[in-house]
Amino acid sequence: MELSRRRLLQAGLLAAAGGVTAACGGSKSSGSGSGSGSKDIALWYWAGGLSDKVVADSVTHFTAQGTIKPSVIGGDFKQKLTTTLAAGRSLPAITGIKGEDIAALLPQAKQFVDLNTLGADKLQSQYLTWKWKQGSTQDGKLIGFPIDIGPTGLFYRADLFEKAGLPSKPEDVAKQIVTWDDWFEAGKQLHGKVPKSFPVNTVQSILSAAIGQNTVRFIDTNNKFVGDQDHIRKAWDTALKPLQLGIDAKINDNSWNAAIAGGTVAAEVGAAWHGLDISSAGPDTKGKWRVAPTPSGPANIGGSFLAIPAKGDNHDLAFQVISWLLNADNQARGFTDASLFPSMPAAYKLPALTGGDPFFGGQVTIDVFGPAAEKIPIAYEAPADAAVAAPYYNEIIKVETGKDANQAWNDAVSQAKQIAAKQGVN
């Protein structure tokens, strides 16, 4: 047989075809998991969503009952989850859901298992009420099991406060600064005595906190648009006060890092995890920051959930894994390993959280965030909430760069109304 090019090509094609079918056959058997005796629990989460060490321990903890297969999914997590849910196949047994996505996924509750049917209702009293409600549908089905939360606090530079003649110890600050107006008064004094420092980085952060302090957001429980009413107007006006008083640094971009390091921004209203952002932006300011309670009450920014897709396998074992991963000890470990603020008040008394934080000069920050976590108001968040809120944030930045405040308000409301109508809100 002569070795002609044609024979080589034929042989090559046959080999390739054989390889492809072998690969297809092989992957099919490892795809669906159940049926061969050992229970596979696929766990999907994003980098930093859970403590990797806790997840690794869960694998060994549950080896007798099943094999946990954790996957850290990079890229757009929500997109991958939505696509897999729409496909309805090869869904994991457990998936994470980010806090900003839970509102949009709650209407699709039939894609997930109601965790109350697996025993979650017995654990309800151990977790924060508002967080539990955030992960539940309006008719009481629990879709998302709480992982972490983002209670806000007022981060401030104690050394700059002292320079300005303001109290610098957290307890004293808490006594003096109770409402937003108290804070803006103190901010004026700070900026007056230390002209290069501003107490507010951008009006957007005040707006975000002020909105989060309410019990109603932009759409109420009857699916009616309420973004033009007093509670939002009040938050808008509060957010613009620093701009009017001249104490707003107007930093809403990447120059924030330098502003923190250089002391241009002397305070931040942010969630507990925002402390990490501050410490990575300004490592040389270590020991100079403290935390005080948020003026006019805490809000929540961030925090995620774990859920069980209905078409995943092994629901009972999956729920056992979830409740183990999120018990008090493991939540405390999540705090030390990945700065995940626990959603379980019992964890606040554990040593991992009651130790002092060197970045905050040894302050025991749980004294501020613990009570804040319990006081966060319960507010209904509609799936269209993020889209409807966007015009307000865009317009308030325009006020910062010179637009008339009333015009901006009217534009924001009319645009928000249009967006709400498009999304099917009344």
Partner: protein, 303 residues
């Protein structure tokens, strides 16, 4: 019946079919699905609700959409015409018999094959307002510093520069290939008649390159109006509040970025589909205008 046509050539059709099957499955069908989607309300997971012309009605009244149209057109103008002109100049210079031409060809083509995301991150660093390289050089030359990533117009310039960086070399290589098909006798005859380099360029090079210029113009229009990666990498964030909205003042919000934001951040696939079809119509309009402007004179010339 004679077995002619498709049946007798079935082997050849089979050989070229893989591409077309993939094209139909992954390109053509999704295009029509998107058209269907533009008349629905869908959040990606639930049921689709028929919405008639609602999405388009909303589109016409949406100020952010019109802002994205303005941004897209300005970025396209800033990023295409100077770029094509520079590419032509480079091609003419390369054609003039410089030494090491193969090296220059590779060097100019390299930006086209590098990852746009990596280059965008690099641009993000050097155009930074406080410690970027560009502002440092401006400071050295005693020129006023520019807030590259905050000023609305400067943002568009940066995005246009990114596009130019990527495509200049590609277009220069294409023009170079075209230049080499122009017979040198024409240039020699013109020189004998006393024409200088500029006249030769205007009256010989450009008219004979017209079909190639048309090609690069159309391709640049189609890709330039769809710019998405540049603003997304420069201003994208994983922020939970209003992500992917094109930076300060939404100055970098192109139509593709707005589509991405609506469809994937706000889960509003129906509206995203409407935006994308509006973009298609815009691209079609510009291509027709370009064609009319450039090809018309060619028809006259060959008569």
């Amino acid at each position: 019946m004679r077995r002619t046509g498709i049946v007798s050539y079935w082997r050849q059709y089979l050989a070229i079919s893989p591409f077309f099957l993939v094209f139909v499955g992954f390109n053509l069908i999704p295009v029509f699905f998107t058209l269907y989607l533009a008349f629905q309300r869908w959040d990606g997971l639930g049921d689709m609700q028929f919405a008639g012309l609602d999405q388009f009605k909303f589109l016409i009244h949406d100020p952010t959409f019109w802002l994205s149209v303005r941004n897209t057109i300005i970025i396209w103008v800033l990023g295409t015409f100077p770029m094509l002109f520079v590419a032509l100049i480079i091609a003419v210079m390369l054609n003039a018999g410089v030494r090491f031409t193969p090296f220059y060809r590779i060097a100019y083509f390299l930006p086209n094959v590098t990852s746009l995301v990596a280059v965008a991150l690099f641009f993000f660093a050097i155009f930074s307002s406080s410690n970027g390289l560009v502002n440092a050089v401006l400071h050295l030359l005693h020129l006023p510093q520019v807030q590259w990533l905050q000023n609305p117009f400067a943002i568009k310039v940066v995005i246009a520069l990114l596009m130019s960086w990527q495509w200049t070399g590609y277009n220069a290589i294409i023009y170079l290939a075209g230049l080499q098909t122009i017979p040198s006798q024409l240039y020699e005859a013109a020189q004998l008649d006393g024409a200088g380099p500029v006249r030769m360029f205007r009256h010989i090079t450009v008219p004979l390159l017209r079909p190639i210029i048309l090609f690069t113009l159309i391709v640049s229009t189609v890709t330039g109006l769809q710019s998405f990666t540049e603003p997304q990498v420069l201003f994208g964030s994983t922020a939970s509040v209003n992500p992917n909205s094109g930076g300060p003042g939404q100055a970098g919000l192109t139509m593709m970025l707005y589509f991405y934001h609506q469809a994937f951040d706000n889960n509003d696939y129906g509206y995203g589909a409407a935006i994308v079809w509006a973009l298609f119509l815009l691209i079609l309009l510009f291509v027709v205008i370009n064609w009319r402007l450039v090809a018309r004179s060619e028809r006259r010339g060959t008569r």
